[in-house]
């Protein structure tokens, strides 16, 4: 692999199906955390119910794919209600605890050996995307955009995904410039003040939790469709934290924050991996093996990414698209 290929590969990943998945997950979190101030640390749970509803309904129970997608989205609504009803009247930290616990509990249940017949244990569900592959209009040879290439099905998924992202961004833009969005932002700032003005804060928090959760389920469904597989390892706790990273890089409470964040995050996550991989391989590596060998190189991407996140939090805590004026206020 040449240095040029390292670059083009990273670009392919930056717009690829995985970037779409994390972009969607972060858009959901943006509703929760960015606009409403809800601390949802279990976005993976919403992704899981979406992904597994589709995987299991199609593969285990032989249901129609489109119907299963609808059920997956409804399952996210139910999960949001289950998590929200007991916690949204309480202090913000209760939701954080409930969501992080729910995500891990759900992951253990879906991966359990005793439910192997229904959910496929650690292998999960797979091969449930035929109906989608059947309608794939992209030529079988794939798509060549000059320096970057995509396989046919991947490109189809990306197309669906980015169109979905675009539609959601328009929808969220319209919501957040409206009085409805203003109530959410008010709740983020001080929910008692909003209560004192006659708004049913609990109801608005619930609406936000449901909306962001459904978008999270879309992320999980896209993940399943992209890889034709849903497995417990796709929805580990770090899934949620990657989604938060995407959001914070781009800028919370900005419509396009998650989009920019996803592009940048996946460009660097893969670019750094390929870079350090190449820099430590071969007979005369760029980085001498005395300093770093190729095994160690695979860890470098997370180290560098962690460093980048720290630098962003220190020097640009509002994210790339954030508003500088808001920063001056935070100190008070």
């Amino acid at each position: 692999m040449s240095w040029f290929e390292v670059l083009t590969n990273a670009i392919e990943q930056a717009v690829g199906p995985q970037a779409v998945v994390y972009c969607l997950a972060a858009i959901g979190l943006n509703i929760h955390f960015g606009y409403t101030g809800l601390l949802n640390f279990g976005q993976a749970a919403f992704m899981m119910v979406g992904g597994y509803a589709v995987g299991a309904l199609v593969q285990t129970w032989g249901q129609n794919l489109w119907l299963s997608i609808l059920v997956g989205l409804l399952a996210a609504v139910v999960l949001a209600l289950i998590l929200g009803v007991p916690t949204l009247r309480l202090r913000a930290d209760y939701l954080a605890i409930a969501t992080i616990a729910a995500a891990e509990a759900l992951r253990q249940i879906l991966g359990a050996a005793s439910l192997n017949d229904q959910f496929g244990g650690q292998d999960g569900r797979f091969g449930f995307t035929e109906a989608l592959r059947d309608i794939n209009p992209i030529p079988e040879g794939g798509v060549d955009l000059g320096i970057i290439q995509f396989r046919s099905y991947d490109f189809f998924i990306m197309l669906i995904g980015w169109v979905l992202v675009a539609l959601l961004c328009v929808f969220i833009y319209l919501l957040m410039r409206s009085p409805w969005g203003r109530v959410l932002k008010g709740i983020r700032e001080d929910e008692d003040a909003v209560r004192s003005l006659g708004k049913n804060v609990y109801s608005y928090k619930m609406q936000a939790l449901v909306l962001g959760g459904v978008i999270g389920a879309m992320a999980g469904i896209m993940s399943g469709l992209a890889t034709s597989n849903v497995a417990p390892s796709d929805f580990a706790t770090d899934t949620t934290f990657f989604a938060y990273t995407v959001l914070l890089i781009g800028g919370a409470a900005r419509v396009l924050g998650p989009v920019l964040g996803a592009l940048i995050f996946w460009f660097f996550l893969n670019g750094l991996d390929l870079f350090f991989g190449k820099a430590t391989s071969g007979t005369d590596p760029l980085i001498p093996s005395a300093i770093m060998d190729s095994n160690q190189a695979s860890l470098m991407r997370l180290i560098v990414l962690g460093l980048v996140l720290m630098l962003i939090m220190i020097y640009r805590p509002q994210g790339i698209l954030g508003d500088r004026r808001e920063l001056a206020i935070d100190g008070r």
Partner: protein, 297 residues
Amino acid sequence: MGADTMNEKHETAHGGGDVILVADGVTRTFGGLKAVDVDHFEIPRGKITALIGPNGAGKTTFFNLLTGFDKPDEGSWTFNGQSLSGVPPYKVARRGMVRTFQLTKVLSRLTVIENMRLGATGQKGERFLPSVLRFLWQGQEDANTERAMDLLRRFKLDAKKDDFAGSLSGGQRKLLEMARALMVDPELIMLDEPMAGVNPALKQSLLGHVKSLRDEGRTVLFVEHDMDMVRDISDWVVVMAQGKIVSQGTPDAVMSDPAVIDAYLGAHHDAELTFDMESQIEAEAEQEIAAETEENR
């Protein structure tokens, strides 16, 4: 008059007028401390009532209880004849009883004008799906904005309308919160120390504004330590000390009530007292000094 003011018949205590809010037997304890222990309390309709008392008397806690932000151990109260016990804060506000907070709660990362607009009630655009269609709510929004600008001008905040509320000074925040509460168009507005930190010149114009609220037909209840303001604008004064109502009456009557002076002196010897009380306390102090010097001879 004097100490037995509070023992007069409730109905006639403030001139026999109509009452907008009546509370009975409201108590609230924090651990062992009885922060609020109010036997009977009422707010005359269409008047300005001051709730005063030393620090820690339970005024803010009583506000919280009446508006549903805190739950009493026992007690009941009605607003416009309807029970408000157990009614959540947002419904209390919708019924026309809106409060401000002693520690201001401006929405920092919203602009001043957005803070104001949030106060308006019955907004069509605050429902989830209709909110996406701007033409459904634009007209209402324009009307609300106009009303908000009128209020901001009155409170000298119109130049700040596009600034983040978090960039306002402490006094300006007080003003914004009061203006925002008025956006709800309340029948009864409850102000917790509205003048704290507001400069004297503006204070004078605000006093006029509070009076004009009464002239518009609203009822005002406010907590304030500034005795000049209390004397200036209130029609009725209720004094709390250690959770209990120790006196009520017209400003002049209350200020000369020994129970009130006791309450203030008992709790805080350095409490800032003005006019009647001040002269009385001075007189008492002089007597004491005179007595002491006599003894020392």
